[in-house]
């Protein structure tokens, strides 16, 4: 009849009290369990969505900070360009898996036709003299292919030599190639036409042009745009346009884009002495860096290390920043769950503590008998702890399931009430950072589930709370005087 056996007999032979304690723990356990379930589910959504948003990050002017500058500040402020050495220095950080920096320009052609989609109708590019986008790259294996944005379906990617030497080679889309009967190894000619827009005329004026001859070394097929356009019927037009734009993009070494930009600027300078004077000694090389990190969680550490290296008013923009924009309902639910958890834990400590104290007062004589028989106070305390904790384990186990179900129902209701809130994005569009994920995707990926981390978290918090609420009234036992109770 040691204290452990006495504890179990105490539970089974005082069924009424055990059931009352069980009911209290079960009810409060449901609150704790529900709050933990919601917190875990919102946490999972954040990591899932951030995983889907990817690990891409870039460095750019902080336009929000720019907008906040006063007129005086703007007058004296001279923004710096990002130089390649800094881009490379950031790219060498341990968080970066690979990186690239790109220049982009638009060109036309008299020998090839742009790809158009039948769903959008003919003449999508009518009047557009420059439907082809030359996307300059420095990372020879092409980062978009590595990241699954597009797939190389024929030919090869660039060599380091081609990138370094600015070779006239390109990787184009398979659809553009088949539209123009081009194959790997073929060459085609683009036209870099420079137009002026005189103030006194509505017509644009061609002021210079030159041919850009490129050899096709590979063909790609866009992946992400295709998948997403299948999914999103309501936004299909927008996705189709994105797809068409990508089909007409051509990957080339940065040096090709740089050369064409320089040509354009030279033509402008020749035609406009004022412009020539203004642009003297100015560089026309403007690179957009893109970094892919090892893990989505690395972004904050990456940001911390990069910010001190940047020129004034520059900042780090990451793909996961988009989460903050689309996670409204999730954030409010997470906050609500946090408050419910805090209140539930406090209520459990208070209510269970009072119930245990009342039961202890009721059992004062029994406890006095154990002490009069020479039982150690630690074992008397142990007996009570076992009694409460065994009931608590049963109550917590029951509320583990019911609280989880409850959390599912409650969060469904909360999300439905928040679902109508739409977010309008006002800001800068970053090609490599933007995903088509919406608030709806965030809500779709929300799932209250019974996983091991929830089970462990709930048992941990639940049992610790009950332990604290039992230890406080146990001070009562420590102060018991058997003589006063029994004689």
């Amino acid at each position: 009849m040691n204290f452990i056996k006495r504890a179990f007999l105490g539970i089974t032979r005082k069924k009424g009290k055990s059931l009352i304690l069980l009911a209290v723990i079960f009810i409060l356990g449901n609150l704790i369990s529900g709050a933990i379930s919601i917190q875990q589910a919102t946490g999972n959504v954040e990591s899932t969505i951030k995983e889907r948003l990817g690990t891409a990050a870039t460095v750019d002017m902080d336009y929000e900070a720019w907008d906040k500058m006063s007129e005086e500040e703007l007058e004296t402020f001279e923004p710096e360009m990002l130089d390649i050495d800094l881009i490379k220095q950031i790219g060498d950080l341990s968080y970066v898996k690979y990186y690239d920096y790109n220049m982009t320009t638009w060109v036309g052609s008299e020998s090839i036709e742009p790809y158009e989609d039948a769903d959008l109708g003919e003449g999508f590019f009518s009047g557009d003299n420059m439907p082809f986008r030359l996307k300059g790259i420095n990372y020879a294996p092409v980062i978009d292919f590595e990241e699954g944005k597009a797939k190389l379906v024929d030919g090869r990617v660039f060599t380091e030599e081609e990138i370094d030497n600015g070779a006239s080679v390109t990787v184009i889309s398979q659809k553009l190639a088949s539209e123009n009967n081009l194959e790997v190894g073929d060459t085609f000619t683009l036209l870099n036409a420079v137009y002026d827009y005189p103030e006194d005329s509505e017509e644009e004026e061609l002021i210079g042009s030159r041919d850009v001859v490129l050899e096709v070394i590979g063909l790609f097929d866009p992946q992400s745009a295709k998948e997403e356009s299948d999914d999103k019927n309501e936004d299909s037009d927008m996705f189709l346009m994105e797809d068409i734009e990508y089909q007409n993009a051509m990957y080339v070494p940065n040096a090709i884009v740089s050369a064409e930009d320089n040509f354009t600027m030279e033509v402008y300078a020749e035609n406009d002495p004022e412009f020539a004077e203004m642009m003297e000694d100015e560089s026309f090389e403007y690179y957009e860096p893109i970094y892919y990190l090892n893990k989505p969680e690395d972004i904050e550490a990456f940001r911390e290390e990069v910010l001190p290296l940047l020129p004034e008013l520059y900042t780090v923009i990451s793909a996961s920043d988009q989460y903050e924009r689309i996670s409204g309902p999730m954030e409010s639910m997470s906050k609500l769950a946090k408050y419910v958890l805090m209140v539930a834990v406090a209520a459990t400590i208070l209510i269970t503590g009072l119930v245990v104290l009342l039961f202890l007062r009721d059992r004062k004589r029994e406890l006095g008998i154990y002490l009069s028989l020479g039982e150690k106070r630690s074992k008397v305390i142990g007996q009570i702890l076992i009694e409460v904790m065994v009931v608590a384990i049963v109550g917590i186990t029951l509320s583990l399931f019911s609280g989880n179900l409850l959390a599912g129902q409650v969060s469904d209701t909360i999300m439905k009430s928040n679902d109508n809130e739409s977010e309008y994005f006002e800001g800068v569009y970053y090609e490599n950072l933007e995903s088509n994920l919406t608030t709806e995707d965030v809500l779709d990926s929300y799932e209250v589930e019974l996983n091991s981390s929830y089970v462990l978290g709930f048992y941990g918090i639940g049992l610790l709370t009950i332990l604290i609420s039992t230890i406080i009234p146990l001070i009562y036992i420590v102060r018991l005087n058997p003589k006063k109770i029994l004689m």
Partner: protein, 223 residues
């Protein structure tokens, strides 16, 4: 000498005045004898028993068990291994059966007791007059006399030499009172225990081997 009280003083502080319950009380007890301490209500006899059983401590003086100060033994340990206590209101655990009540001190004591504690407990109860079917009942289903027998069996369960009882027959009728006193006499004379009973009954005092009278905090032989 199994137990000896030396110059015990116990008082209540009433403002600046001390109200003595026991004043320089000294007494000794031997094994194999049945003692009674007689006194009126409020005479301090229960206080004396609480000091002898280490449920309380004196303001001065000492209690020696086998010539060792019980303070040095440790009050808790002394209660656990050296004495059995019987109370007027039985003080059994109502959610346990009679035999389970007897088993409780067996799991607490550090004394050598046979491994088959349940058999020992049943035998003890049988010896005291509680048959097997009653031994398996919850104690609150037993009569007052039966409950006090269970309390005596519990006091004997740890195989101690010293039994202390506070008004053990106070809640019992005369027939039952005599049966309990007979058990105490048997324990002292046949089993060599030292039995000390606090009572207000002259009849019981007259049956003891030695009786003391406690009046105004002073203990004297009862004649």
């Amino acid at each position: 000498m199994i137990l000896e009280a030396k110059d015990l003083n116990y008082y209540y502080q009433d403002g600046e005045q001390r109200r003595y319950i026991l004043k320089d009380t000294s007494v000794s007890f031997e094994k194999g004898k049945f003692y009674t301490i007689l006194g009126q209500s409020g005479s301090g006899k229960t206080t004396l028993l609480s000091l002898l059983s280490a449920l309380d401590s004196p303001h001065s003086g000492e209690v020696l068990f086998n010539e060792e100060d019980i303070k040095k033994i440790g009050y808790e340990k002394y209660r656990r291994n050296n004495i059995g206590i019987i109370f007027q209101s039985y003080n059994l655990i109502p959610t346990l059966t009679a035999v389970e009540n007897v088993l409780v001190p067996m799991s607490i004591t550090e004394n050598d007791i046979p491994e088959d504690t349940k058999t020992v407990a049943y035998n003890l109860l049988d010896y005291i007059g509680i048959v097997r079917n009653k031994a398996d009942r919850l104690v609150n289903k037993l009569s007052g006399g039966e409950q006090q027998r269970v309390a005596i069996a519990r006091a004997l369960a740890t195989n101690v030499e010293l039994i202390l009882a506070d008004e053990p027959t106070g809640n019992l009728d005369e027939d039952m009172e005599q049966e309990i006193i007979d058990i105490f006499k048997k324990l002292a004379h046949e089993h060599g225990k030292c039995v000390i009973v606090v009572t207000h009954s002259n009849e019981i005092a007259l049956q003891s081997d030695q009786a003391f009278h406690l009046r105004k905090g002073v203990l004297s032989p009862y004649e």
